[in-house]
């Protein structure tokens, strides 16, 4: 689960990590009141969406007067912001953060993520703040300092020294300030089951203080149960409505651009099915994993969600029953055809537990637009043909 910048900064505040003063606004008038309360003389008006690259997309602007705050708030609130992380459709800006301008001397980068190879969190720092870290990693990887910190020993002095010497921070007072900053961020990461924290940029002010000018945080979904305060920060409007609806039924759904709807059990087979469709000249319309406890109701729901997408020209149901019983899926398909108007060809491949029973159920139902496939390759080929109207 991801949260907004203003929420990340609320969490920073709890850990005594310095940030500029700021207030969240949902309307232009509220933005102006916030700006007056902050006092100025410089404000930053920042779009709050769950995506990076907001500045380049025109969602972060500097104001030098209250009037300018009003103009910018009016411009940014309600705009559809397109960044390299939103996709071409962009995201609607519904909240803006009004923040004090900062005295920026240097822009740095600081983040914490899981290093899967080392199996421990890694602190990443760079002098190349304000740029996309992916680009820095690609163009000049030597400019990213990585310090893995084993939770069994925690953040030690040497971790801090590796960071400040790596960044070329030579002033002893500044070294101390930066190390404290990084240590607090690491503690925050662990204590909240964060998946990723990124501060870009982290600025050094003229006075030699370090301030988090931005904040991006994602959390481990599996651990949200023990963090009700973070769960409460969930912004449903930032999530895809169909994906969310699907998850309520235990389905894992992601919409894609193609024409062939997919309903599969297991994430790996679901991806493998998409790949096979692609390989055979078709395009998958979605990823959909019905999970291990699929039944008639969830299958029917899956059809409903897939069919909401007007681009879908055929549906490929590919089930390899292990725990999932194929006869249940077959009944689910029949159920779906009763509840929902399934107006496209449905290619069905059922293998594994109770597959023969399932075949009988489908045959006896004798539904016109159900096409039975013998295996994965056959099913994908038939789906591609059906989507082309063949």
């Amino acid at each position: 689960m991801n949260i907004h910048e203003y929420q990340a900064k609320q969490i920073f505040a709890k850990y005594d990590i310095p940030t500029p003063k700021g207030l969240i606004a949902h309307s232009v008038d509220e933005a102006v009141v916030n700006a007056e309360e902050l006092g100025g003389p410089i404000w930053v008006v920042k779009a709050q969406i769950h995506a990076g690259g907001r500045g380049l997309g025109g969602g972060v602007k500097l104001a030098k007067s209250i009037n300018e705050v009003r103009t910018l708030a009016d411009e940014i609130l309600g705009m559809t912001l397109v960044t390299h992380q939103t996709g071409p459709e962009g995201k609607l800006v519904q909240k803006i953060y009004i923040e004090d301008g900062a005295d920026i001397k240097d822009e740095l980068y600081l983040g914490v993520v899981l290093d899967r190879a080392k199996e421990m969190p890694v602190i990443m720092a760079s002098t190349e703040g304000g740029m996309a870290i992916e680009d820095v990693a690609h163009d000049s990887p030597e400019k990213i300092i990585k310090v893995a910190v084993d939770p069994a020993i925690g953040f030690q002095g040497f971790h801090g020294r590796e960071l400040v010497f790596g960044l070329g921070i030579t002033d002893k007072v500044e070294q101390g300030k930066f190390i404290k900053f990084a240590k607090k961020l690491y503690t925050l990461y662990l204590e909240n089951d964060a998946e990723m924290i990124e501060i870009n940029p982290l600025v050094k002010t003229g006075a030699g203080d370090f301030i988090a000018l931005d904040g991006k945080m994602g959390f481990d979904d599996s651990a949200l149960g023990r963090h009700p305060d973070i769960e409460a920060m969930r912004d449903i409007s930032e999530e895809d409505a169909d994906e969310r609806e699907a998850s309520q039924y235990g389905l894992s759904y992601i919409s894609l651009d193609g024409e062939i709807g997919c309903m599969v059990n297991g994430a790996g087979l679901a991806m493998g099915t998409m790949d096979t469709i692609n390989y055979m000249g078709g395009t998958p319309a979605n990823f959909l994993d019905v999970g291990g406890s699929a039944n008639a109701e969830t299958v029917a729901k899956g059809f409903e969600i897939i069919l909401k997408n007007p681009k879908v020209k055929a549906i490929f149901v590919n089930i390899f029953g292990g725990i999932v019983r194929c006869d249940r899926i077959a009944n689910g398909i029949l159920e779906a055809t009763k509840i929902t108007d399934v107006n496209v060809p449905v290619i069905v491949r059922l293998d594994g537990t109770n597959a023969p029973e399932a075949a009988v159920i489908l045959k006896n139902a004798n539904i016109e637009n159900i096409i039975v496939a013998s295996d994965l390759g056959d099913g994908a080929a038939k789906s591609v043909a059906a989507a082309k109207g063949e």
Binding site: L269, P284, G352
Partner: protein, 290 residues
């Protein structure tokens, strides 16, 4: 022969009396697995599925001499269960539980390594040595005995792959579902040498997916150390970057962990890489015919 488990392996079940634990333990017993007991705190002394229930793993191990534990404990408590198994001297823990917090598994894995306990999973179908020992939730009937070893991050692709191998007239020595979480136990790099050393395994099927770099590490290892033919499929060639595909670890982030780079690395290591999982069986038949 086989790797890690066989008909003589003694297995206990943590979370034995729960719904999932009971259902799958029963299936494992029916398959022929030597389930010699189970652990459910406060149910010690009871008999479940004809086997003794213990309060602690230590008691279970000292009474039954089990070396493997199959874990069905709910996600919030699974790390505790894994560490208890390590502490009690279990040699291999097979963690089926889905949805374990990453931070918990990080600690549990580190503790297991320290105590010399191997782990498989979490969030995986388990391990099966065909027609001898099933420790997990896979449909046993697919796995006919043969000469192909299988390692897979995905449960259903394990079944798909094994089924195709069997349909081509071959069979499986041992199949291991390693799971797709960000932190997992045994991976390709540890399992490949076991299959290389197993005289019955003549070919290895390796099924991976987007995210992380375990397949890249495997490619480097295969190039230097593996003489047996390897067939590989990487799921997620059509997955968009930044979207998590079901498994917590299956995400392309910062341009890394794509199917394309993994497939290229494996091909460069001399692995036969198929672009669709529908081709796994045929590819195995091809490399075994050589």
């Amino acid at each position: 022969m086989s790797i890690l488990v066989n008909k003589d392996t003694k297995v206990i079940v943590q979370g034995f009396t729960g719904k999932e634990g009971s259902f799958h333990a029963e299936q494992c017993i029916a398959y022929g697995t030597q389930i010699v007991g189970g652990v459910t705190p406060n149910k010690g002394g009871q008999v479940h599925l004809g086997q003794p229930v213990f309060n602690t793993v230590k008691e279970a191990v000292s009474t039954t001499n089990a070396t493997v534990s199959m874990i069905f404990v709910p996600p919030a408590f699974v790390a505790d269960a894994v560490m208890e198994a390590a502490d009690a001297g279990i040699e291999l823990a097979v963690i089926i539980t889905e949805g374990a917090p990453v931070r918990d598994m990080q600690a549990a894995k580190a503790y297991s390594v320290k105590h010399g306990m191997m782990t498989i999973g979490p969030n995986c179908p388990g391990i099966i040595t065909a027609e001898e020992c099933k420790i997990g939730i896979m449909p046993g009937m697919i796995f006919k005995k043969g000469n192909v070893g299988l390692i897979s991050k995905s449960g259903t692709l394990t079944y798909e792959g094994a089924n195709q191998v069997v349909k081509e007239g071959f069979g499986i020595t041992t199949a291991v579902g390693i799971g797709g979480d960000p932190i997992i136990g045994l991976s390709y790099k540890q399992l490949l040498p076991m299959f290389e050393a197993d005289p019955e395994t003549e070919c290895i099927v390796m099924i991976g997916e987007i995210g992380g770099d375990l397949e890249i590490q495997a490619a480097a290892y295969i190039k230097e150390n593996i003489t047996k033919p390897v067939v590989a499929f990487i799921a997620g060639q059509t997955a968009p970057a930044g979207k998590r595909m079901g498994h917590a670890g299956a995400i392309i982030s910062g341009g890394a962990g794509t199917a394309a780079e993994k497939m290229a690395a494996l091909e460069a290591a001399g692995v036969k890489v198929v672009v669709s999982p529908a081709e796994i069986g045929k590819a195995v038949a091809e490399v075994l015919a050589k």
